[in-house]
Symmetry: C3
Subunit: 363 residues, 3 copies
Amino acid sequence: MAESRPKPWPVNHWYVAARADEIVDKPLGRQICGERVAFFRRADGQIAAVEDFCPHRGAPMSLGKVEGDTLVCPYHGLAMDGDGRACAMPKQRVAAFPKTRSFPVVEKYGFVWLWPGDPASADPAAVPTFEWADNPAFAYGGGLYHVKADYRLMIDNLMDLTHETYVHATSIGQKEIDEAPVATRVDDASVVAERLMDNVSSPPFWSMAQRANGHDDSRSVDRWQVCRFSLPSHVMIDVGVAYAGAGGRAAPAASRTSATVVDFITPETETSHWYFWGMARSFRPQDAELTKTILEGQGAIFAEDLDILERQQANLRAWPERRLLKLDIDAGGVHARRLIARAIAAEQGTEGAPAPKRPAAAA
Amino acid sequence: MAESRPKPWPVNHWYVAARADEIVDKPLGRQICGERVAFFRRADGQIAAVEDFCPHRGAPMSLGKVEGDTLVCPYHGLAMDGDGRACAMPKQRVAAFPKTRSFPVVEKYGFVWLWPGDPASADPAAVPTFEWADNPAFAYGGGLYHVKADYRLMIDNLMDLTHETYVHATSIGQKEIDEAPVATRVDDASVVAERLMDNVSSPPFWSMAQRANGHDDSRSVDRWQVCRFSLPSHVMIDVGVAYAGAGGRAAPAASRTSATVVDFITPETETSHWYFWGMARSFRPQDAELTKTILEGQGAIFAEDLDILERQQANLRAWPERRLLKLDIDAGGVHARRLIARAIAAEQGTEGAPAPKRPAAAA
Amino acid sequence: MAESRPKPWPVNHWYVAARADEIVDKPLGRQICGERVAFFRRADGQIAAVEDFCPHRGAPMSLGKVEGDTLVCPYHGLAMDGDGRACAMPKQRVAAFPKTRSFPVVEKYGFVWLWPGDPASADPAAVPTFEWADNPAFAYGGGLYHVKADYRLMIDNLMDLTHETYVHATSIGQKEIDEAPVATRVDDASVVAERLMDNVSSPPFWSMAQRANGHDDSRSVDRWQVCRFSLPSHVMIDVGVAYAGAGGRAAPAASRTSATVVDFITPETETSHWYFWGMARSFRPQDAELTKTILEGQGAIFAEDLDILERQQANLRAWPERRLLKLDIDAGGVHARRLIARAIAAEQGTEGAPAPKRPAAAA
C-alpha cells in the first residue's frame, strides 16, 4: 500500500488471519491489516504467507497453485517459496529476481496467525495461549464473518454487552444486563469488564445450554460475563450461569454451565475487518450435535450485530467531526482503544505526541 | 454533513419526506435534503423526526423501535423523544446528554412534510393546500420512486411535457403535444406552463379514462396540460380532455374527464431524489378498481422516465462544462430553476452575488 | 471528457468499436477510447457515430431511435444526422443549434472501425487489410468480452504466450511453450514475437482441429505461434501445427492445420477495454459446425484470462509504485508498449520529452 498515513492498528502482533482448514491444498488470498497476502501450505504441512503480487507482472499469486514447497504464479509460472524467493521459472534465471515480502506465520489452535510487522521481532511463543485450545476437556465451534466496519467498533461491541438487551433480545439479552453495574480493570496489555447478575432467570440461550447440560433451567441462576480484551484485538468472554448461590463462576460443575466466547477481530482495511467468532465450552465436550446446535445459534445471534455495526460505520463517516459519549458502560471499549493507540504510538516512536482528535470511527 | 459548499436546494420549505402509511409502528430512516433523518410515530399518533444518529455511539436510531413517545436506540437502548432529548437509558443519567437535532414535521394529506431548515421559521400553516386533498370528491392514488438524478432534472422533465411524445409514446404521448405551443407564466413562487391541444383524438391513457368515466372516446377532444411548479419542488399538472368545443378545462363534468398529476420531488443528495408521484381525479372517485388501474398505468408510464433521467445525469457528470440549450419548451424548467436559485440566495444572503456558471446538472 | 491528462492511447488510428451485426435497426451506445459514442445505421446502410449527448438537455442519443438518416433523441425528439447536425425538432428552428461532434467510422470485414482522433487525418484506406477477411477460403468466428483492465495488459498477455501453459493448461497450453525460446522483431508500427516448437505432441485444442481437418493427431508435429502486434492495439497470431518435418508454417495444406487468432483490443477507459477475439482458419472453411465448435472452445479458453487480468489490474492499482520485471518473454509486450508510447508522444508533440515513470498498469 502506498499510503503514508499511519494505520489504526499496531503491526508487531500476531493476528488471526484464517482458520487452518481454509488452507489445505489451494492457496488463500486475504487482506490482513491492509496487506494483501497469499497463504499456502507447503509439502511439509507448514503454512507460508507471501505478498499476493508476483514480481514478474503483478498477478495475484493466490490464484496460482501449490507445487511442493512453492506457490506457482497462475500467469507465467514463476515458482516462489515461502520466504518469497523466486525458485524457478521456465527458461529463466531467477537468482537475481527481487525477493517478495514474506510474513511470519504460525498455525496454532486451528488458526493461522500472521505477524504483519517487523519479522525480526516475531516470536511464535508470543501467540497467546488459551486453556480451551487443543484441550479435550473443551469443545470448540466457530465461524468467520466479514464486516464492513472499523475493527474497533467490534471491540467496542464486545466490551459492552449491554447491547445484548437490544440487539439480542430473544436469545442472550435480558433486562438485568442493563441493570447490573460493570466493573472495568486495566493493565498494560488487557482490559477486563466484568458484570455479575445474581438471582436472575436464564435467558433462552442459557436455558437451552442448561438443559443440554442436564441442569434444571427453571431455577434462578447467578449469571456472569467477564470480557477480556487483549492486544492487538482479541476479546475472550467468560460467560455462564450457575444455580443461584452456588458460587457463580467458582461454582462446581454440577451446578454450573459455562463457556468462553472467543472473538478474534482482525483488521482488513481501515473500514472493514474479519471477525472470527466461536465458543469453547467445558460441558458435554464430546457432544458433537450440541456443538453444532450452539454454533448455529451463535452464528445467528452474532449476525444480528453486523447490520448495526456497518450502519454505525456509515454514520461515523457521514459525521466525522461528531464526538461520541463515553459512559461507564463504554469504559471497556475506551480503555481497549487507549491500549491500541498506545501500542501504535510505541511502534511509531510517537508516544509523547498528542493524541489524534478523533480517528474515523473512534470515540 | 461536513460539507460547506451550499446545497442546491432551499431549506426553509416543507418537503414531502414520506407517505404517512410508511410510518406506522416502526421508525423510518430516510435522507432528505442531505439530512439523515429517523421518523417515528409517537403514542399520540404524532410523527417526529430526529437526526438518525444516536449521540451515544452513532448507531442509526431508525433501526431501533418505538416505545411510547420515544424512539429507542437499537444498540444500547438510549430512548429519545421527538425533540431529540435523551429521556432514558438503563442505569444512566441522561440529563446532560447532548440534544439531538430534531426537525419540524407535519402530517397532512396522507404525506409527511419535513422542514430541513431553521425550525423557528417552520409554520405548519405554510404546508400548501390542494383542492383534491382530503376531499371525498376526489380519488388519489400514488407511489414513490427513488431516482439517481439531481431533483431539478425531474422538475425540468415535468415542466416540459413534449417529452411525452417520445418517452411515453404508447400511453399519453401524441404528436399534437409537440405541435401545440406552450405558454409560460411566472410569479414569485410558482411557474405555470400551459399547453392546449384542440380537436385531437384521445391518446390511449385518456381513452381508457374516458371509457371508465362513461364517455365516448371515439369523439375528438380538446386536451390540456397545465403544469404548475411551486417552491421548493412541487409540480401539479392539471390534465384532461373534454369533447371538442365543450369548453376545455371549463367544460361541464358531463363532457370532461380530468385529473391532477401530483409530483412531490424531494432531494435526497445532490445527485438523487425521492419522487412521490400520483394522480387525483374527480371522476368516479368512489371506484377503487379504477384507482388501482390508473395507479398501475401511471406507475408504468412514470418508470419510463427513470432510465433517461439517470443516464442524463451520468452524461452531465461526464461533461460538466457543457452548456445546454434553453428553448421555448424549456422555459418552465428554466424559470423554476431561477426561482430555486433565488430562494437559495435569499437564504444565504447572497442575492446580489453573480449566478454560478453551471451547477452539476443545471442549465 | 474534461480531463487534461494525456490518455494512454494514440487517437489518430482506427479502432474496432463493434461487430457490424451489433448495429442493425437500433442505435448502440459504447465508450471507445474514453469517448461516449452513439452509433447508428442510416437508411442507406452506412454507419454513423456521434457523441452520445443531445445538445438540447444532455440525454444519451443512444437510447433514441433511428428514423431515416437520423437518430432521434429519446427525450424531446431532436433529430440528428450522422454528421452531428440537428436536422429537426418539433416546432423548433434547429439551424443555429450547436453541432454535435461526429466521428469518422468505417464498416469493414464485419467490424465497425472508429477514428477517435482528428477527422481530417482519417483515411478509410488505412483500415488494415487481412488475408482472411472477406475471403471465402477462410472461416471466421469470434466474440466480444468486456475486461476491467488497462488494454495494454491484454496486449502483454497476447504477446507472451508462455502464459498458455498456466492459464490454459487443459486446452492449448503445453510445457514445450515455456521451453522454446521466443524471437522478437520490431519495426515502426509492429512487433513480432515468434516461437517454434518442433517435434512435439498436439495439445488438446490442436488435436481436435487436426481430427476435424482429417489429419492424424497421434503423430508428432511442429507447432508455431507468431504474434504480430500492430498499432494501435491489434494482435494477429498465426498459429498451427504441421506433421513434424513437413515444413512448419510453410508445410503444404495436406500436412498442416493452421489459423490466425484475431485480437482487436480497444480501450474503453484507462482501466477497461473491449476485447474482440476470434479465429480465422483456412481448413474446412465451409464447415459451419466446426466454426461453432471452435468459437465455443476459444470463448471458454479466452475467458480464463479475464479474472487474472482484472485481478492483475487491481494489484497494479494497489501497488502503483512497484516496478515489474522485463524478461525475454516480455519483450513483445515491452516493445508494443514502446510503439504505443511513441505514437502518443508523436501526436502530442512530446517526442523529445522524458518517458513517464510508470503509468498505472505499465511496465
